[in-house]
Symmetry: D4
């Protein structure tokens, strides 16, 4: 029941057109709708930017195609499609502006958003096999309008490679640290940086890497403060959260 409807109902009671009991019953029947439209938006989505997201996994190429076109036709300027298969990209109807980022399995309908800010989100990976997840994170952040810096293959076993980027790390506004295997990258970066660090474990590794569980556990136990963790291989989630943090308005 919307606020307007509730007002009308009260009005009817006030005017004697509805009894108290009738009104009471009506309110009980539609308990939450009044909140629905007023204060909770439909898809949460991505309100700060002008973007909409389609989660491609488990959707057929045809479904993705249709949703994307519908959104575009309803005026959406930028549409991000994650976990989009090569096949879905190939069969996508190209009558609207479309770019496919193969490594990240990300599709973009519309133009790439120009960065709205000077500061940057840093996306770092431990190895080269982590790059697909990193690109999903980086492109998500870029499409949402953030500047992104990338430093890839800077795993802790060659700590000097990472330290060579110390300045870039220390100047970032938010860092996304992506690693499989032992996932130590998050701790080392967390120790170097002042800013929030979002750790993304990846399913890279074999044997006791357990498909990313070891990296996840390692990251959750990081001895560095300021580190939090998202699900294994969840590049989108990290990029989305980094965008939220990077766009915090200064408090007054």
């Amino acid at each position: 029941m919307e606020q307007r409807e509730m007002k009308e109902l009260l009005q009817q009671v006030a005017e004697g057109n509805a009894t108290v009991d009738e009104a009471l019953l009506k309110m009980k029947m539609a308990p939450f709708e009044e909140i629905d439209i007023a204060s909770l938006d439909h898809h949460r989505g991505i309100r700060q930017g002008a973007s909409e997201v389609i989660y491609g996994a488990g959707k057929t190429p045809a479904q993705i195609d249709k949703i994307a076109h519908t959104l575009w036709n309803s005026g959406q300027k930028t549409i991000l499609i994650t976990r989009m298969s090569q096949e879905a990209a190939e069969t996508f109807e190209k009558d609207i502006p479309f770019t496919y980022y193969e490594e990240a399995k990300v599709g973009l309908v519309g133009e790439m958003t120009a960065p709205k800010q000077k500061g940057y989100i840093l996306v770092a990976t431990g190895g080269t096999s982590d790059i697909p997840v990193a690109e999903e994170a980086a492109l998500t952040a870029e499409i949402l309008g953030n500047r992104v810096e990338r430093i890839y293959d800077v795993g802790v076993a060659g700590i000097h490679r990472l330290l060579a980027h110390a300045e870039k790390i220390m100047n970032a506004r938010v860092i996304i640290a992506i690693a499989g295997m032992e996932g130590a990258l998050a701790s080392v970066i967390g120790g170097l940086a002042d800013c929030p660090v979002i750790a993304v474990p990846t399913s890279v590794g074999y044997g006791t890497a357990f498909g990313g569980v070891t990296a996840l556990l390692s990251m959750l136990n990081s001895c560095a403060s300021g580190v939090s963790v998202v699900n294994i291989d969840n590049g989108f989630g990290a990029g989305y959260l980094a965008n939220l943090i990077n766009n915090m308005e200064a408090d007054k």
Copy 2:
């Protein structure tokens, strides 16, 4: 070697009061300290505020007492002691200003910091048993100079209790969602809020709650975007990270 000391040393070289080799040797003797204060602070610590943190677990009351007094005497204005036992609090030498928050097992040396901002961090729990972890998070954030709002015992099984706070949720700058058992609170809050949500699983529950693992897994798989997770019962980590996010400067 702090930046100031390094400058003095260079000054001495420039003035001929130290030879190049003497300076070089001195720098090598303390190989990284010169970088230490300049770009990497010693304990990472808490630079935005004037606070220092002592992790009380595994330290004897005497050790905590000594470290706290040393820090205080060296001019530290606010010292946060986490996981401080009742016993450590009782035997603490009260010749310096000291407050003990029993439920949170948090000790504070010095005065409580006044909030530096208008906006607030929201700390929410699923049940009453989660409150100790919540208070650790809330006090950490407060001592670091943040305004904190608390809504406790708003678990999803009585969803209306949570929804009654919908406005408070939607207006928060950062939310810390704390829950044991099935940990669904993080998802529901994540679905209501626009801001970053830090999920803290707690070891509350029995049987298949597995000491917080179920809540952790649930939170990592949250279908809401913008949610990240810290270790089980890690209230301090959540409060610290919330402080980092809440104090993001606007990007220019």
Copy 3:
């Protein structure tokens, strides 16, 4: 040994046609059969309705075909085939009435049963990927003669979508709550409803979703009362149990 046989045996002893030892031996030889026929029916099956169930997984198309035809020819009016592959459906001999529900992988021999009741079983899912399991549950219940209402893709991250169905939830006689990922749907529905809630975790998700284990654990730890859980992806089991509950006769 049935009661009748036992009586005859005792009769023979009474009449001197059997010795005590002969009778004793005979009783020892067939230890449990007397219970067997009398009190334990052969396949448990589905006695309330007129239906028979074939569990299709691990059976060849030919085996399914043969069993179904045999049951039909022996007079069975409705035969439910679960986990029936596309291939088994295609090669099924269509000389008897047969419908295949592709999404649910359910085959139905005979006509769909008309609902015997006014009240309904509600089948709800967190996402669209949970629909195949949901359809298995819903069709099982329908074929057993229940009215079923479906509300799909009402996951807790968009809590208002779920609340929009609050009335449908509160009026259901039994609810089947189906979700993967963090499985919070069961708790939220359990908090809204008065009736028994059967939670079905699904293998939807990735990484730490662990093929449904996270959803399962979450559901087992539901802070709402009145919730019980079945195996991962066990739509049939939920539909079957819901039918049992929905058809409880009023106690006198």
Copy 4:
């Protein structure tokens, strides 16, 4: 806002003692409470009967005492206290009618409810060590107004002991099957009975019993239909759910 209060408010509007806007504002201020008592009670609780439940674990004796007395004084006729420690029972202020069931750790304020029905809930256990959980389940059901039959120590290793109760099993309206170790009781009972079976794994056993996890897994994989499972040692949950099922009104 309770139903009564909402009625009064509407009354005031009807009588002109409150304007429509005043009423609307008041309703918005307490956004969900108006629905609270009407359609969603505060603790979900136990609406069919006249009972209220206090979960004693993690509450101090004093807290339990106070809540129970408050409820009693506000007119509550029957109050069930689960997981109540011996100490809490001993220090409980006995100025109101109070009974303590030591084995089940259940406290009852008020008189035991007389069964409202002829049919019964059957509570069965595999061993004697499962009895505390069984008694929690049985007393919960009894206090909620159900007839309960108990058959204890009928584990499947002595299958004849269980079969001796075959008639009692087949005539039950709902069965709660409680077992630790290998938890096979649920499957065997599920194979004998037509009615819904609620399986409760217990933490009884050693070594690979893993504190009830083995029994839980066994029950989730029951080859019998009509079986669902609750958390380890969750006697209350089983008793509560059994009550819901046992009190299903016949559908019209």
Copy 5:
């Protein structure tokens, strides 16, 4: 109903002292007991010997005392009490012959059974910490009337210690191999012996010994044939099974 009773009942029928219906009724009243002693004894127990077993864990000293005295007074010659606490042994009423084996936590009422056979069961342990479990196994087998040889602390890390007993291993009729930590003893003994090997993992070890799980897994994966496994620390189970195997009658 024991065999003797059943015979008497049949006798009464044969003699006309009981009608067929009276007998039938009596049999139905105690539905399975008639089979009970004949083909299924009440506690399965230990039929070959004259022993009865009381599982002491979870029973109070008083309960153990009472059960043991009752069994003794009903004519039981040998009663084995497993997992009997020091306290239960001390308070045990010593008016009947009683021996307590402290290390094994085994109590014996009556005299130790003389071995009925020439061949022996070999009980071997990897370390000295496994001895309590080994003694439970050995005493169980001895009380059931078997000869037992013990070789303790012959872990595989000092393989020569084990090989020094090669002859004893090769001449055993059944071997119980007991080990914690990596549990390799079962494989090595399994490779040396021709006879059935019962492997008992123990909870000895630390860290990744995981309370016996590592030894268990190791034993289940033994590359030697003829090895089977019982639950962690289940000395009684191994001794009981060894007795069954050792007393196989030669097939004719």
Copy 6:
């Protein structure tokens, strides 16, 4: 070094044909061989019968073919090949007597062994999907010269199906109980039988069946005595061990 050789060596020393040091050296050089040939046979193998076993998994069809032919040509009368793929069976050179049991994936070179005994090993399964493992067990036992009785698909959910075979169960010399899902079959059979029961968990089931782990845990925690367990799907191991037990010579 065999006893005879050692004697010769000592003889040489006694006769002055070898110095003390030469003898000492020789003994050190061949540290364990004296045991090797004397008391430890080369492949353990299967000495009671005339059979040899080839474990087919991980061997190419050509390797299996070659090993089998070599063994046959060296006089081996019966050769059992386990886990032999369809392909290996098809390409097997049929110039020697060869039978392939497709369901069990067992190959037999030579003639099936006639049972050497009157008593039988009983092989029972919970479901039809367990039959391949059961056939591996049964054929192994048969080829080793045992009589085998099979009762398949007698899972505990239809307990009467199992009880209908009670006599066969009680008369068996050894029982192999094979089940997936909740694995309760072993406990129920263990409760009915007096003889050793070898439990084989199978990887049958889905979701929380965890590829046989649930059945394994259930079997390890069997409340019945006399039950031991082998690895998941290890039909051969069970058949081999059953053969060892069934052929125990009577002790004198």
Copy 7:
């Protein structure tokens, strides 16, 4: 910044050619590089020998080809390629000396290194299925310039097979013990040898072998001293570490 550069910078300051602030800035700008080149080499690599390693997994044939050729052309004499697929080997441009070891999936560019030492590394396996991992370890060690002895298929179930190699075991300088299933080989070898033992669990086995986890746990709990463990199937890691140990210079 290398030591030399830092000296030059200080020199400039001393000579007035750089101001103190200029020098300070320069040092801050390149915070760690001075260590980088001087003391940390770029890829750690394999400095004792003249070898370079390419980890082939996750690289395309073309990438491997390119990296190998580049290294060769830059003067590298020996290049080891691990986890190189059959396909990558076949398409490898053979204009430079190249050998492919199919079983080990190891590629070698350049000539096999001649052993630099008399002593040897022993590589032992429990079964034949472990040989691929063993060959990866052995070839890694050989290419790095070590003598390697191999004893394969000496699992502990036929302990005499292993003991027949006792001398070879006792004379090794380092041993790599490789086994799947129950992984007991490491303990037995550890008990026979004086030298460091590197245990490599393999993913060989089925059911509760859990892809190598059981062997890993077994090895970590080895009751023999001097044993350490690497990741499942990590033959390269073991070979590399064995090379490090084998080439320890005598301490002076």
Copy 8:
């Protein structure tokens, strides 16, 4: 039978003081001891040094006291007692030289061994809570005659603290890296050092540290080469292995 004794026995045979049969018998009586000292010592123990080890866990103070005194009286110069409780140390009979290292729970009978070498073993820990394990490792190595350097509390979250010791790391002959929580120390040190690194996970941490399992998994997946792992908290094992490696003789 020690080598010396065997020689004497052979001497007696050579001199006619013992017959061949007497000698043979004597050798058979102690079947493997003759090999024992020659090729396999009794407890493997610690042959390079003059030390003997007593594993104190699970031994009573009296047992430890007795074994230590027996060893001392038989001429042992240095006896290392690990996991020795405070109580055992206090009640230890001080009539022989005895030192107790409380933090490490290590007892030493005899004098501390002087280092036999110039090079050192480096023992590093991530935090202060890891020190007890580190001291067990360090003291073990020292008592075995090694020089040990310690760098404690150099966890990767403050990477500069670790880098300050880069020279010490690069000059070590063997490194023992000890850490709990996320265990990243091993990877970072492994990336800095050329020498073998023995990683010891500790049970330090909470929540998902899982008693050291997370650190263990992290270390097993180290992206640095040259790292191997021992059991959780196994300081002794690491110290013992480090001693073996540190004392490798140069190969000729």
